[in-house]
């Protein structure tokens, strides 16, 4: 519910909404985006976020960090793709064999 009656109410509501959007545990390290204030648990995620959400405002260092994080991500994605393919094959042949036996 974000229905509001007056502009002042609306302002308070949106600040309250921003506070409610994030929930960082007290003892956790957070890498916070300097453009929009969104906290992240890992540094590469912050770099990716900056590149995706604020592409025109980055300095050279941030662009470099984004490229590095993006490459690292591509590697872990291809590992995941192999695992997913394996799981699909397992589901397919598993069911095929069960249906043959039952």
């Amino acid at each position: 519910m974000t229905e509001t009656a007056s502009p002042t109410d609306e302002q308070t509501a949106s600040t309250a909404a921003a506070d409610e959007t994030y929930d960082v545990p007290a003892d956790a390290t957070a890498y916070t985006c300097s453009y929009c204030g969104r906290p992240f648990a890992r540094e590469p995620w912050l770099a990716l976020h900056c590149g995706l959400a604020h592409p025109n405002e980055l300095d050279d260092g941030e662009v470099e960090a984004f490229r590095a994080a993006h490459e690292e991500e591509a590697e872990s994605l291809s590992t995941f793709r192999l695992q997913a393919l394996g799981a699909l094959v397992l589901i397919y042949f598993g069911l095929l064999m069960v249906y043959a036996l039952v």
Binding site: E20, T21, L48, H49, V98, V102
Partner: protein, 459 residues
Amino acid sequence: MTPGRRRTVALVVCGLGWLAATGTASAHGGSLAAGGRDSLTIPTWLFLSTGGAAVGASFLLASFVTDRAFIERIHDWGRPLSGDYERVLGLAGQFIGLAGLAAVFVVGFLGPTNARTNLAILLVWVGWWAGLAMTTYLVGNAWATLNPFKTIAGLLPTLDRAYPARAGSWPAVGGLLVLVWVEVVSPLADQPRLLASVVAGYSVVTLAGAFVFGPDDWFAHADPVERVFRYYGRFAPIGRGEGGLRLRLPGMDLSTPRLVDGPDEVAFVVALLWVTTYDGLVTTPAWRDLTTPVVEAGVPPHLLYPVALGVGFACFLGVYRLAVRLSRDVSDTYLAPAVLARRFAPPLVAIAVGYHFAHYLGYFLVLAPSLAVALTSPFASPATVPTVELPAWFGAVALTSVIVGHLVAIWIAHTAAYDLFPARLQAIRSQYPFIAVMVFYTMTSLWVVSQPEVALPHL
């Protein structure tokens, strides 16, 4: 039977079963069509795991699409459709809605008492709840214009009290549960007089609410029927955007941020899914066996049904909230649980749409000729009414629609996750608990479907 053939049969049986027991009002609305649940040719556990595996495999397939630009292009594709004809269409729609409501009252109270020939029964169940609801998610939300209660409320004066913001959409959640409870425990699809009385009761509550809080606030927040159609309409290719009517790919409007806004609206989406299950659950032998000792111990059955409805809803909602917490842990994000709950609820609408279509397409096609006859002669009660025999392959259509509903749901969740999380693997991981929940919902529905249908016990 060869294994291959057996498998095909099993799949078709899945479809037929789904056809028979899903969708709101299936037990009673469905009684007109004289449909029953088919018995299975494969063990129940295998039937359940096949359904669950189908959902899981769809997720794995969706996870192969990791190109952000491609996902956004699919999500954002659209064409504007607005024009000057809208006003004329709107007026015609309001008139048709009012005429329909008048027909339900007049024929419901004064027409033939036979459910198969009474226009009020056929108009509400076949024309409105099956036909109009189907056009809502296949074409666009016409109920927003047709809604006769909104038209009447717009003409009446209003006190225009401020709608209590804290109440949110909770009245709609309660209203949906009450409507389904009334529909399940009373013969609404058999007795025209009763149906007309219930519609009259609903009119009084709705118009009173609109009178106090103003039609805009009432229909935006508190009216359950308006909200069901609005969510179904979000699945449709034609929707209302910032600049008027707009053409989109089916289902893609569900991944728009802020569609579901707050825990109350999350609860409504979960309730929409739960009532489709509840409706079938109460006609299973397991339900009868489970409740017989309870009723014999002296618990009144009229208390049992609403309590079970409430407890089951709390259970579904609890499972969804648990998934939200797990998703937050798995994806290691600092987004608040409420944010995740809001973004991942809309895909459930697509699943509800798939079930609704699977159940009501056949129901609508079988009874549409009866509706046409009743429309031309509302007060005649012919001994035989025309119905359509559905071909044997029709079960495959139902199965396909359920699968498409799940595929769209998984795709919408995929899009939402990519929108929320900067890292793509994080986005995929965040989906694990939600996929588990979808598998749980699917297997619950399938289990209900695989049970033989018995008469509503204790009532």
